[in-house]
Amino acid sequence: MTHVTILVNGEPRQVAADTTVAALLGELRLDPRHVAVEVNLELVPRGAHGRRALADGDRLEVVTLVGGG
């Protein structure tokens, strides 16, 4: 199986080629309702998580809500 290297919140990570955003969130055991995902500075809406395949070198931000003022 071929793998690609992506950057998730600044950390390099190997995933299977054609892994989608939805699959990645599953691997990370994150509740998709609690996070938002940006790939290469562009928001990926929740409805597109299952379609958006990740490519080598993609830079992801996976964010959630935290306490703040």
Binding site: A36, E61, L65, V66, G68
Partner: protein, 283 residues
């Protein structure tokens, strides 16, 4: 007349912020509490129905899997996501969109607004007015209701309103400083400019209040509400301070509506001048 009959309804009318209607004029932040339980209790004690939240990277390895959302009743509060920590308009727009995406997933009504912070530096956490204005324009164009954190400069405040801000939120003093309302005259001028011909335009004092009297002073100036976080979260007893802040909002709002007496240089007797007994010795 009984006490009940003389009591005045405190929420004489709800606070309208764009499409949102809030019963409390206090907006409370969710940061810096010693633990989530104390946060939840303090929020409840403050009487607020709107709480701010920040957007941060998911910690990918958290053994306990703790999340703010496990401790906040998102059906009870309107969430107001902020762009804290952003130093450019580009990043603030990105964070606002990420926050909207999360709130849409939560089906929270706060998905249509943002508390915009674009900061100038880490030492003062004062806003960058040029970048704040640019971000406001872009977010308004993107359909956001934008609540702008800004300084107490009336000219900047007016420019932000002209750019389409739903509310302008001047700081009383730097974020988390607890210095209170440093320049009440500037807040007065902000109010005059922002409410000229538009008396319902909401103005919120955001940041810097340290204790209950600071909140009351802000409300007595005629602002529509106060947004605070550290003043409660870092009080020695946050729960008690939350109650104090609730009372302070109500006291200040009532005093503003009631209309204070003018300040005078000399005394004015409260008891009648006439009918006093004859002095033993002529005065």
């Amino acid at each position: 007349m009984s006490l009940d009959q003389v009591s005045v309804p405190v929420a004489e009318k709800p606070l309208r912020l764009g499409k949102h209607v809030l019963s409390s004029r206090l907006i409370v932040g969710t940061g810096k509490y010693a633990n989530y339980g104390l946060m939840a209790e303090s929020l409840a004690a403050s009487g607020t129905d709107c709480i701010t939240v920040a957007i941060r990277r998911e910690r990918l390895i958290d053994a306990q899997g703790r999340n703010l959302l496990d401790h906040v009743d998102t059906g009870r509060y309107v969430l107001l996501p902020n762009t804290a920590g952003c130093f450019t308009a580009d990043d603030a727009v990105r964070v606002a969109r990420l926050g909207r995406e999360i709130l849409l997933g939560l089906e929270n009504p706060g998905s249509d607004w943002v508390k915009l912070e674009v900061l100038g530096d880490t030492k003062t956490l004062l806003p960058d007015p040029v970048a704040t204005l640019a971000a406001t324009e872009r977010l308004v164009a993107d359909g956001f209701q934008v609540l702008c954190y800004t300084t107490d400069d009336p000219i900047t405040a007016r420019r932000l309103k002209q750019a389409g801000a739903t509310s302008v939120m001047p700081a009383g003093s730097p974020i988390g400083s607890g210095q209170g309302i440093l320049n009440p005259n500037n807040i007065r001028i902000c109010l005059e400019y922002l409410k000229e011909g538009d008396p319902e335009y909401p103005v919120i004092v955001d940041a810097g209040v340290g204790t209950a009297s600071d909140v009351t002073i802000a409300m007595e100036l005629g602002v529509d509400g106060v947004l605070l976080n550290t003043g409660i979260a870092h009080a020695a007893d946050p729960l008690m301070m939350a109650r104090a802040m609730k009372a302070a909002i109500e006291a200040g709002r009532l005093a503003y509506l009631a209309g204070r007496i003018p300040k005078k240089l000399y005394a004015t007797a409260s008891s009648p001048d006439e009918g006093t007994i004859a002095p033993a010795k002529p005065r």
